[in-house]
């Protein structure tokens, strides 16, 4: 079954320089009661975004019109904690296509890739450059090219290459998923079971 495809993006940036952003922050457990994949964007970063009376908390970046775009940039060790795929759904549902950090937790990275959300891991130095550029000029844009595996800070032209598993890259570009691939190997699975 086809998932979202991804090839290239040029967009503004939403920066959250906090380290160790865990999936409980991205989407708190009490919002995991839905039985479909849609609608989680409304509760993305819920407790950072709204106070206990459901009023927007001023100062949090998602409540601040200064920053907008389809690229979320977070501090080191992004997506640690719970394996809830709802975290990737929430980020994607909110409208992000790319998450950039200097380090991603394993399960989050896998979940993102399975949902057409591209995790781009950059060096800590490049990450800090992005934060500095965006806070200095919120209209700063990044360019992410999946084919070439590059991310570029357009204001300065500085660029870095990022890694991605070649199989996963092909899946993203062509919009096919793991299940299609494993299902095409079902005879091998049945053979294995007879061993």
């Amino acid at each position: 079954m086809a998932t979202k495809t991804f090839q290239y993006i040029q967009s503004g940036v939403v920066p959250i320089p906090t380290e160790n952003i865990d999936t409980d922050q991205i989407i708190p457990a009490r919002f995991l009661k839905a039985t479909t994949r849609e609608g989680f964007g409304n509760n993305l970063f819920r407790d950072w975004r709204y106070d206990s009376d459901n009023k927007p908390i001023t100062g949090f970046v998602l409540n601040d019109n200064t920053f907008s775009g389809k690229i979320l940039v977070g501090g080191k060790n992004f997506g640690c904690g719970s394996s809830r795929e709802h975290a990737a759904w929430a980020i994607s549902d909110y409208g992000f296509d790319v998450v950039v950090s200097s380090f991603f937790a394993d399960i989050f990275k896998g979940n993102a890739l399975n949902n057409g959300l591209l995790p781009v891991q950059v060096s800590e130095a490049f990450l800090q450059k992005i934060f500095a550029a965006v806070f200095n000029d919120p209209s700063t844009e990044l360019e992410v090219n999946l084919e070439k595996q590059t991310i570029t800070l357009l204001s300065t032209g500085e660029s870095e290459e990022f890694e991605i598993n070649p199989y996963k890259k092909a899946c993203l570009i062509n919009g096919y998923d793991d299940i299609d691939y494993i299902l095409s190997n079902i005879d091998k699975i049945e053979e294995y079971e007879k061993r």
Binding site: R30, D47, E85, G110, L183
Partner: protein
């Protein structure tokens, strides 16, 4: 290194099990890994079942899939319909899905119901040498039996339902050794909190960990499960411990454990499951048991832990970038850097979760609090990991001990570990918790969590503040 040399090199336990489960491997692709048992629960499965429906395919091996309701269930009055509507719908959906796809469900009211990582081992479903996955990151618990077990996302839950396999990149291998004699009052939970505090909440990312050393070997299965459970809190994919006589004795005779000839055959295989002496790990850490004090966390990730007699670290020792996150964490917790944590008042005590809700944990707590009473303004919840644990506790009279001390013994579920049901810690309140995560809002919006061992939690319940258990035993 040529192929011959690689062949003759020793193998890690992890690689032995992984290799035995590879269905197919292809250059540039992740391995197709066979999964022996798939555990599912109400929260991360509904979208996966929907996916199967959309594809028009069945669950490939329903007999190798085991379901329970745990994350979202109330821990009082489980015999009555669930009051909260969305929770009820999710649990009903699981029941309906399991019936439609032919999956055994240990739902509410079933004598085997409980937290998925507690029931697998106690039913003898979890065994050495096998592979387990579940849409829950603490699936690593099952590694205590010398198995490969790890958490997956919902797309992968669908993948395993559809094919009984998972596309997986082989992780790197890490060995963590702990040797020596533990201090009195220090146990498995302190060991793992100590390890995470040393290597950080991201120190294990990309690795699968094998825990070794004589301290680890001396632990009961319950203790080993506590250790493996928290592997994910250092970012590791999972953790495992080579099986030995303690493992075999635990598994033998359990409901779904192999019997008769099948047992003998299984046992002979299990005895081959250890890392060869010359096996190579990508990273090795070594710790001394004597260095480990009763641990407690002060921050908002499990790596932010200290010995209970230590001070909260001085912010000045971190880089500017790190200070930002560090100060945010302390502010959330309402704590000051460079001050002691011992003596800090607490409001709630939560003894439960897949980390510490097994019968041994409850026995340990009961033995300590016998003849004592909880402090007046402290609320104490004891939530057993499963129906079987609850029944065993009642049989041993532990419920009476809890009652006399002012502790409430509730019914099984994840409860305040993630605050999905009604068991939430109110905003601003402090909870000393035997669970595994102290993230912001984990136990309820704006709740504040101190992670610790069951004994440390019980000690705090009695004194009403963070207390060094060594002073009370």
């Amino acid at each position: 290194m040529n192929l011959e040399e690689t062949k003759n090199m020793g193998k890690t336990l992890f690689d032995k099990i992984w290799d035995a489960h590879v269905v197919s491997t292809k250059e540039g692709f992740p391995d197709i890994l066979y999964i022996d048992t798939h555990f599912i629960h109400e929260v991360t499965s509904p979208q996966a079942f929907n996916g199967l429906r959309q594809r028009g395919i069945p669950v490939f091996r329903p007999k190798q899939t085991v379901a329970t309701a745990d994350h979202n269930v109330p821990t009082l009055h489980q015999d009555q319909p669930i009051k909260e509507e969305l929770s009820r719908l999710q649990v009903e959906m699981l029941t309906k899905n399991c019936a439609e796809f032919g999956i055994e469900l240990y739902g509410l009211g079933h004598p085997y119901q409980g937290i998925v990582h507690v029931i697998g081992p106690e039913l003898g479903i979890t065994r050495p040498g096998c592979t387990y996955v579940c849409g829950d990151s603490h699936t690593s618990t099952h590694g205590a039996f010398g198995a490969i077990a790890f958490g997956i996302g919902t797309s992968q839950v669908e993948q395993v339902m559809a094919t009984q396999c998972l596309l997986q990149q082989r992780p790197k291998r890490m060995k963590i050794e702990v040797n020596g004699q533990l201090q009195k009052g220090v146990g498995a939970k302190d060991i793992i909190l100590y390890i995470i505090s040393q290597i950080s909440a991201a120190g294990g990312t990309g690795y699968f960990v094998e825990y070794a050393g004589d301290t680890i070997r001396s632990l009961s299965m319950e203790g080993r499960m506590t250790i493996c459970n928290m592997s994910i809190e250092m970012g590791a994919r999972g953790g495992l411990i080579a099986p030995d006589q303690i493992t075999f004795d635990y598994v033998e005779g359990r409901e779904f454990a192999p019997k008769g000839d099948a047992w003998d055959k299984a046992l002979a295989y299990w005895k081959t499951l250890f890392s060869d002496d010359d096996a190579v790990f990508d990273k090795v850490y070594s710790f001394r048991a004597e260095d480990i004090a009763p641990m407690i966390t002060y921050g908002t990730n499990p790596g932010m832990g200290i010995g209970v007699d230590e001070k909260i670290p001085d912010a000045g020792q971190f880089s500017d970038q790190e200070q930002l996150s560090y100060k945010k964490a302390l502010q959330y917790m309402g704590l000051q850097d460079d001050t002691p944590i011992e003596g800090h008042p607490i409001d709630y005590v939560f003894i439960g979760s897949c980390t510490n809700s097994r019968i041994e944990d409850l026995r340990q707590v009961a033995e300590f609090i016998k003849g004592k009473k909880k402090a007046d303004d402290v609320t104490v919840w004891v939530v057993p990991g499963s129906k079987q644990v609850e029944q065993q506790a009642i049989k041993e009279g532990l419920d009476k001990v809890f009652e006399a001390a002012g502790f409430g013994l509730r019914e099984p579920g994840c409860s305040a570990c993630l605050g999905m049901n009604e068991d939430k810690i109110p905003a601003g309140k402090y909870c000393i918790s035997t669970s595994n995560r102290n993230f912001e809002g984990r136990q309820g919006p704006n709740s504040r969590t101190f992670l610790a061992s069951p004994l440390m939690a019980a000690a705090a319940a009695v004194t009403g503040k963070v207390t060094d258990i060594r002073e009370l035993i």
